[in-house]
Structure formats: structure tokens, C-alpha cells
């Protein structure tokens, strides 16, 4: 239609739009297409379309599948419930009350997100198993709890609850105490006003963050693999892993299970979108207003203890366990004075060591991923939020789809897709394949941040620049870019932290001859050098946490992170 064509011309960014769409198709749709092909045609890896659907029938006919699917959903729900129980009170106390050391607690709750879940799990195992650190120090043995289904959920809650904490704080800050105060004028008690007014207003933001936790929980591999297997608790992700790492390899079975997982994540994701699009009081409330925080009074000490306890189990225990393991000369020597030494750290930092190379590879991959996803995410989001026309829907779908793609699925898809012999050039078996994998997995972070940022910017700011004589690209660069930059920096720092320790995809697609931090650690564990692995883990956590934190503190935006 003429109108549509003309509007396209107003934006004047057609080539850029198609470039971004093309890149996303390559990043997201291309590998996913091959997963679907693999699920249908088991021989696709041999460039053959023989025996279509045979693998699918076999995989779906497996009676264990039902149990795995049920376990996956159950785990997601348990983690969601646990995160809600822990994070909502924390968030409420943080925002609505005058809590001492507020910013410090925010920092503490950022840390769990920076500890790779599989490392945190190992830390917990080292702490709670018989003769673990807890028993060595206090005589208490927590193995019975840890190696159980609640134990799996517990460890996963600790690594995901910050998502909910920061969402609750952000939403409550936007909603504020105003509406609750109105209720009090009309006769509601403070508690009633909170339950009936303030909490319901914060519900959409809260529900969305809980669904995000659900999605994270059903995609997590390390924790259920390390803890759940012993409790006989198989989930879909471990099922996928079994099929691609146990002889005989069953790629089409893995692809079918992956698609099932993608389906589950998509349900969670669309539910989240629905909730947010229907009633999101956060955005209508506009800018956060100054909140009149209530004093805690007699409750100050108990509430502080609660915060300290949460910070201790979520942040201190795993970190201390990692550090203790890294510092011991021998594990069997235990926490004895003579058994401590720095040799694991010196081994990593010695000149030309594999550890150092791995660290450098991971850091440069992390920075590249952050820059690329930041740029791509911001542009994609710009076209989705501000664009018109049909192409926008495709872009929207492509930029959020990776939300529903577990790392292991992306990895298998990338190998299948990029190792086709007919491709003239391929990033396969170069470091770029890792970059592509990370970009695909992490793209949703910047997109989510950019969407929120662009929605907050009034369209007239853009119009004003155009009327003042700036072309679309200049407008993007001079006006919109700088305005979304702070949000994008937060998103990119998060991407950096996650990309520089990504494990699941790295193990599968790392090019030959290249080691990343995560594959290095994993290999050390495989070879029995737990201490060396933990020393690397600690170093990596330190670097990937400290770097973003320094930037964030400089920007005074810690709470923007999640």
C-alpha cells in the first residue's frame, strides 16, 4: 500500500533495518531451523533426508520423557516459588522502608548472578556433603538435604532470586507508596493497604520476573546434572545432554527434547509478554518518584538479620567454598592450616599457562559479545518499538526467540547449521562460532533493556530532531543513542559477565585448539584437579564481577542491572 511505503520512507533507515533483520536471521533462525530439521530428519548430519520422523517417534515414545517433562515443570515451579518467597520480602523492605546499607545489599544480591550456577552448585556440594566444609567446621552434614529435589531447587533459587529482587524493587519504586497512602486515607491499615493496593500494582512486574526465573530454571543444566541425578531427578536438559554425550549419540532425540524445552520456554515467555502488555503499571507510572520511606523501628535488627542471612547463603557460602577449595593444596588434607597455599593460583597466572590463555579468550569474547549484542539489540529494539510495517513483527520475534533457546540447543543447532559442506564460508571451527553462539543466547538481555528504554523516550524527542534537520541515522546517533546508552551499558555489562563464563554451548562448539574459562574449569574437574578449576573459577568471578561493578558504581546505576 502507498501509505505503508511512504511511512517506510519516513524512517529512512531501510538498509539498516534489513541489515539487522538479516543478521538476526543468521544468528537465531538459521540454527533453530536446523534443530527442527534434525528433529524431523535424523540423517541430516549426513546430508540426507532419509527416514523422516523416525527419530521423533522414538524419542516421543520413550516412557521416561513424560517423567522428564513433569520434573522440568515441577522444578521450574519450585524455583519460582522459592525465589518469590525469598525475594519479595527483601524487595519490599528494601524499597518501602528505611533500610540501613541499602546499596550494599543491592551489591550483595548482584553477586549470585555473577557466579556460574554449576560452580555455585559445586561450592554447595563441597560445603554440605559428608566431611564437607560445614561438617569440618561445625560437625553438621547437610548431604541429605542437598542431594534431594528440594536441594536442587534451593541451590537454583539462590542463583535466580536476584532477578525477582531487582524486579520487585524497580516496580515498587515506580508504583511507590502513593496509592497505598490513598488507601490509608480511606481507612485501610498499613498492612491492608499493602496487600490490597501496593502489591497488586506491583504484580505484573513481579509475575514477569517470576516467569523469567521459571525459564531460567528449566534451561539450567549444571545444578540438576550435579545434584538431581543422584536423587534420580532427570529433567529435559539433562535428557538432551545424555543424548548428545552418551554413547550411542542420538542427535535427533536431543533435537526433539530440545524442541519440547523450547516449547515450554515459549509458553512461559508468552505468558510473561501477555501479563506485561495487559497491565504494566511500571511504565504508565513514568519516572520513579522520590519515595517516602517508612522507618523500620523495632524491626530494624530482625530485618537486617534477614538480609544478612540471605546475602550469606546466596553470596558468601558459594564464594567461600570456591575460595577454600582453590586455596587447599590437597582436598583430602581438609581445612587445615598447613594445607593452604596459593599454588593453584600461581599455576593459572604463570606465564603462557593454558589458564591465562583461556582467561584472555573468554574476556575478549565477553567484550565482543557485549558490544555486538548491545548494538544489535538496541537497533532491533529501535525498529520494533519505533518502526511500522510488517518487517517489525519478524524482527520482534527473532530478537526474543533466544529467550526460549537453551544453550545446548543453540550449540547443536549451530554445529548442524554452520558445518554444512555447501556453505561457501563458515565461522565453524573458528572463534567466531563461539561469538555467534554467545550473541544468540544473550541477545534477549540488551533487547529487553532497550525496549524499556525506547518506550520511555517520548516520540517527540525524535520528531524534534528530524524537524531540526537531522536525518534518521543522525537522530539515532545523536539523540536516541545517548538516551538509551545508560540502559545499554547495564545490559552489556551483564552480557559480558555471562558470556565470559558460558559453559554449555562452549563445551560443544568451542573451535579446536581454543579453551575458554568455562571449558578450562570443566576440564580440570573432569581430570580431578578440582582445586585448579576452582582457582580459575574464583579468578574469573572476581574479574567479571569487579569490572562491571566498577563501571556501574561509577554510573550509580547498580539497580538497573537486573
Amino acid at each position: 500500500m502507498k501509505a505503508g511505503a511512504a511511512t517506510g520512507r519516513i524512517s529512512g533507515t531501510g538498509p539498516l533495518f534489513w541489515a539487522v533483520t538479516g543478521l538476526l536471521l543468521l544468528l537465531v533462525a538459521f540454527p533453530l531451523a536446523f534443530i527442527i530439521l534434525q528433529a524431523i530428519f535424523p540423517e541430516i548430519g549426513h546430508a540426507s533426508l532419509a527416514r523422516p520422523f523416525s527419530g521423533m517417534v522414538a524419542a516421543l515414545g520413550d516412557w521416561k520423557l513424560l517423567g522428564m517433562a513433569r520434573n522440568t515443570v515441577a522444578l521450574g515451579i519450585m524455583v519460582m516459588a522459592g525465589a518469590a518467597l525469598l525475594a519479595i520480602p527483601l524487595g519490599v523492605f528494601r524499597v518501602l522502608f528505611r533500610l540501613p546499607l541499602g546499596r550494599f545489599w543491592d551489591l550483595c544480591f548482584l553477586v549470585p548472578f555473577m557466579i556460574p550456577p554449576y560452580i555455585a552448585t559445586l561450592g554447595w556440594i563441597m560445603t554440605l556433603q559428608p566431611r564437607g566444609y560445614l561438617q569440618q567446621l561445625t560437625g553438621i552434614n547437610g548431604a541429605g538435604f542437598l542431594f534431594s529435589i528440594p536441594g536442587v531447587a534451593f541451590v537454583m533459587v539462590l542463583s535466580t532470586f536476584p532477578v525477582v529482587y531487582f524486579a520487585v524493587s524497580r516496580t515498587l519504586e515506580a508504583v511507590g507508596q502513593r496509592y497505598g497512602d490513598v488507601a490509608r486515607v480511606f481507612g485501610a491499615s498499613p498492612l491492608r493497604a499493602f496487600w490490597r493496593i501496593t502489591l497488586p500494582l506491583a504484580t505484573p512486574g513481579l509475575a514477569a520476573s517470576l516467569l523469567l526465573v521459571f525459564a531460567m530454571a528449566i534451561e539450567e543444566y549444571g545444578t540438576p546434572a550435579a545434584l538431581g541425578r543422584r536423587a534420580g531427578f532427570d529433567v529435559l536438559v539433562t535428557g538432551v545432554d545424555n543424548r548428545i554425550s552418551d554413547w550411542p549419540i542420538d542427535l535427533s532425540g536431543a533435537a526433539v527434547l530440545s524442541l519440547l524445552l523450547v516449547g515450554l520456554s515459549l509458553i512461559a515467555f508468552f505468558t510473561q509478554l501477555r501479563i506485561l502488555s495487559r497491565r504494566n503499571y511500571e511504565t504508565t507510572g513514568g519516572k520513579p518518584q522520590a519515595i517516602e520511606r517508612r522507618p523500620l523501628g523495632l524491626w530494624t535488627v530482625p530485618v537486617l538479620l534477614f538480609f544478612a542471612f540471605a546475602a550469606f547463603i546466596a553470596c558468601a557460602v558459594p564464594l567461600l567454598a570456591i575460595l577454600a577449595t582453590a586455596l587447599q593444596r590437597t582436598l583430602s588434607g581438609g581445612l587445615a592450616f598447613g594445607n593452604f597455599g596459593l599454588q593453584n593460583f600461581t599455576e593459572i597466572w604463570s606465564q603462557g599457562s593454558d589458564g591465562l590463555t583461556a582467561l584472555m579468550s573468554s574476556l575478549s569474547l565477553g567484550v565482543s559479545t557485549a558490544l555486538i549484542t548491545g548494538l544489535l539489540g538496541a537497533l532491533a529494539s529501535y525498529f520494533v518499538v519505533r518502526g511500522t510495517g510488517r518487517g517489525r513483527v519478524l524482527l520482534d520475534a527473532l530478537s526474543v526467540l533466544p529467550n526460549a533457546l537453551p544453550g545446548v540447543v543453540v550449540a547443536v543447532g549451530l554445529i548442524l547449521a554452520w558445518n554444512q559442506p555447501w556453505l561457501p564460508v563458515s565461522p565453524y571451527n573458528t572463534p567466531f562460532i563461539l561469538l555467534i553462539a554467545y550473541c544468540c543466547i544473550l541477545l534477549p538481555f540488551p533487547v529487553r533493556y532497550a525496549n524499556a528504554a525506547f518506550r520511555q523516550i517520548g516520540t517527540s524527542l525524535e520528531s524534534a530532531a528530524r524537524v531540526a534537520g537531522a536525518g534518521p541515522v543522525v537522530t539515532l546517533r545523536r539523540i536516541l543513542g545517548p538516551l538509551v546508552a545508560p540502559s545499554m551499558v547495564s545490559a552489556m555489562l551483564l552480557v559480558f559477565a555471562v558470556a565470559s563464563r558460558e559453559l554449555v554451548a562452549s563445551i560443544l562448539v568451542a573451535p579446536v585448539g581454543m579453551t575458554t574459562v568455562a571449558t578450562f574449569i570443566w576440564r580440570q574437574f573432569e581430570q580431578g584437579s578440582v582445586g585448579l578449576g576452582m582457582a580459575m573459577a574464583f579468578t574469573a568471578i572476581l574479574i567479571t564481577t569487579a569490572l562491571p561493578l566498577i563501571v556501574l558504581i561509577a554510573m550509580r546505576r547498580t539497580r538497573m542491572v537486573l
Partner: protein
């Protein structure tokens, strides 16, 4: 901001390219990381042929080869399970090659298409500080002193564990495993998952751990010991093979020759694997020192699924 980030992305991307240096042959290995590094370094120093290495577990290496089947990347594969060599041979994917250096490798450790790099064996790994008596045979771990203190690597996740399980069952039936279960032994994932708790003392012993990893830890000062049971155990020769699809077959052959050379075999011995060549000394018990259980591959592999299912049922998984 756009320009700056574009620029720095390009710079970093450029530096990534330089990481991926061009290599002549690509080796996939499930072996110890330290060993392959020493072997390839020595090989490149001797021949000038550059190598690229992908090192992981046997399962993950296989997954990668499967996924890459349409366009193979691998030239040389070193697996931890002879079964994979048989499988690839049957599918006609391997290049027949007999290295001149394989003359001193016993016949049961080589075939037309594969030759052992080295050999590991399974044994009991026991924590000397665990306060339990030193076990001497598999059955000892069913005694009350080891109640709740035994880890068993999952035979579903490790080829050699499966062979051990199947061979013991073929010899004596399921009785041993039922007693282990009654005694609180648990299935603990792959080899590393089973071994690590023993290091810290959470468990006293691993039933059938890969010996060289434990010996390496012992050498680093961990208070553990590897015991080869009197009633016999299984060995896991680690086959090396060259793929027919390789574009660098000459270089690949030279690599096999190098690993089987005296120099190469000494490196193998230094990682506590048994060298494939009988004329290379090693600071550990050798095949001739061990009692080897008969493994009838022809009869146990067809029943793999059935055996694994019975095993899982025995341990209530």
C-alpha cells in the same frame, strides 16, 4: 557511541581471528589434557606439522563428530573406548594404517584401523584417611565398614564402567551389585563426579574408577590410593584412529608414529597411563601385573540397553 563500539568490535574480532592460527591436522581427544599438549608440542617441534586439538569427554567428542558428519573436521581421533573404534570401522569411516612403531604393541591393542595410545584400568580408589580398612577386592566394599561410603561411576556415562559392570555380571551375576545397593552405594555420574567426593572424604571409595586420574591426584599429594582388585578388573585401551575423510593423511600418520615413538610413549607413561608399547617402562602396575577380566565384546554390547536397565533398577534410579 555507535562508531566507537563498531570500531572496538572490529578490533576485538580481529584479535580473535589471530587466536585461530592455521593448523595442518586436527586431533579430537578424550584423553588427559596435559598429555595431548605435551604430545602435540613435541610432535610439532620434531616435524614442523602444526596441530589443533579439541579435547573433551568421549561422549562430547562423539557428539561433535556426529554433528559434523556432513563435513568432517577431525583428522585423528583418540577415544577412551575401543568400542568407538569398532563402530567407526564398521561404518567404514577409518583409514587402515599400521605404524612401523606399532611393532612392540601387543596384537590385542591394535587392529587394521586403530592402535592404542595407552591403556587405563579400572580400580578401587580409596581415601586413606577415611577411617575404613583398606579394601582388597570389589566384594570388600559391600562390608558394613563402607556403609554409605561408596561411589559407583554411572556405566551409562562411561564405556569402561559399562565393560566392568557387564564383565562382573557375566562372571558372578547381579548379586554383588545388589549387595552394594543394600550397603548404600550410589551411582555418582561420570568418573570425575564419582572421584571428587572421595578426595574430600565425603565417600571412602570409588568402585571402578579410572586409575590414571587418581594416580595423578595421589602424586599431587591427595591421600588416596588405587587398588587393583584381586579378582580382576577391566582395562580400557585408548584407540587412535585416522579418518578416511582426512585431507592430511600423511601428517596424520606421522602423528600416530610420533605417539608410538619412544618419546611419545614416555609421555604417555608420565601421565600414569600404561604405555601401549611393551618395551617402555612405567612407574605403575602394568597389564602383566593385573588380573584382567575377560570382556566378550560380542556378547555384552548387544545387551547394553538391557544391562543398563537392570543396573538402574538395581540402584533404584
Amino acid at each position: 557511541m555507535l562508531k566507537k563500539s563498531l570500531l572496538s568490535t572490529l578490533v576485538i574480532a580481529g584479535s580473535l581471528v589471530s587466536v585461530a592460527a592455521h593448523a595442518d591436522i586436527t586431533i579430537y581427544t578424550a584423553g588427559p589434557a596435559g598429555l595431548i599438549k605435551k604430545l602435540t608440542d613435541g610432535f610439532t617441534a620434531d616435524t614442523g606439522i602444526k596441530t589443533d586439538v579439541f579435547q573433551s569427554t568421549t561422549g562430547k567428542v562423539m557428539a561433535r563428530i556426529e554433528a559434523e558428519a556432513a563435513n568432517p573436521v577431525v583428522d585423528v581421533l583418540i577415544s577412551a573406548s575401543w568400542d568407538t573404534a569398532n563402530d567407526f570401522t564398521q561404518r567404514g569411516l577409518l583409514l587402515p594404517y599400521t605404524s612401523p612403531n606399532a611393532a612392540k604393541v601387543p596384537d590385542f591393542l591394535k587392529s587394521e584401523t586403530a592402535v592404542a595410545q595407552g591403556i587405563s584400568a579400572l580400580g578401587i580408589v580409596w581415601n586413606t584417611k577415611s577411617g575404613t580398612p583398606k579394601p582388597a577386592d570389589w566384594a570388600d566394599l559391600t562390608r558394613p565398614e563402607y556403609k554409605d561410603l561408596v561411589n559407583i561411576p554411572d556405566p551409562a556415562q562411561s564405556g569402561s564402567s559399562f565393560e566392568l559392570t557387564a564383565s562382573l555380571v557375566a562372571k558372578d551375576g547381579w548379586d554383588l551389585f545388589k549387595k552394594l545397593n543394600d550397603n548404600g552405594a550410589i551411582i555418582a555420574g561420570a568418573n570425575a563426579d564419582a572421584l571428587n567426593p572421595v578426595l574430600q572424604g565425603a565417600k571412602a571409595a570409588v568402585f571402578g574408577a579410572v586409575d590414571y586420574i587418581a594416580m595423578g591426584s595421589q602424586a599431587k599429594g591427595e591421600s588416596i590410593e588405587v587398588i587393583f582388585p584381586a579378582s580382576g578388573t577391566v582395562i580400557a585401551p585408548r584407540p587412535m584412529m585416522i579418518f578416511k575423510s582426512s585431507q592430511h593423511q600423511d601428517e596424520a600418520r606421522k602423528f600416530i608414529d610420533y605417539v608410538l615413538s619412544e618419546k611419545g610413549q614416555k609421555e604417555v607413561a608420565a601421565t600414569y597411563l600404561m604405555p601401549a608399547r611393551t618395551d617402555i617402562p612405567a612407574d605403575r602396575p602394568l597389564i602383566s601385573d593385573l588380573k584382567i577380566l575377560p570382556v566378550d565384546a560380542g556378547s555384552i554390547y548387544p545387551k547394553r540397553d538391557e544391562t543398563l536397565a537392570t543396573f538402574a533398577k538395581t540402584f533404584g534410579k
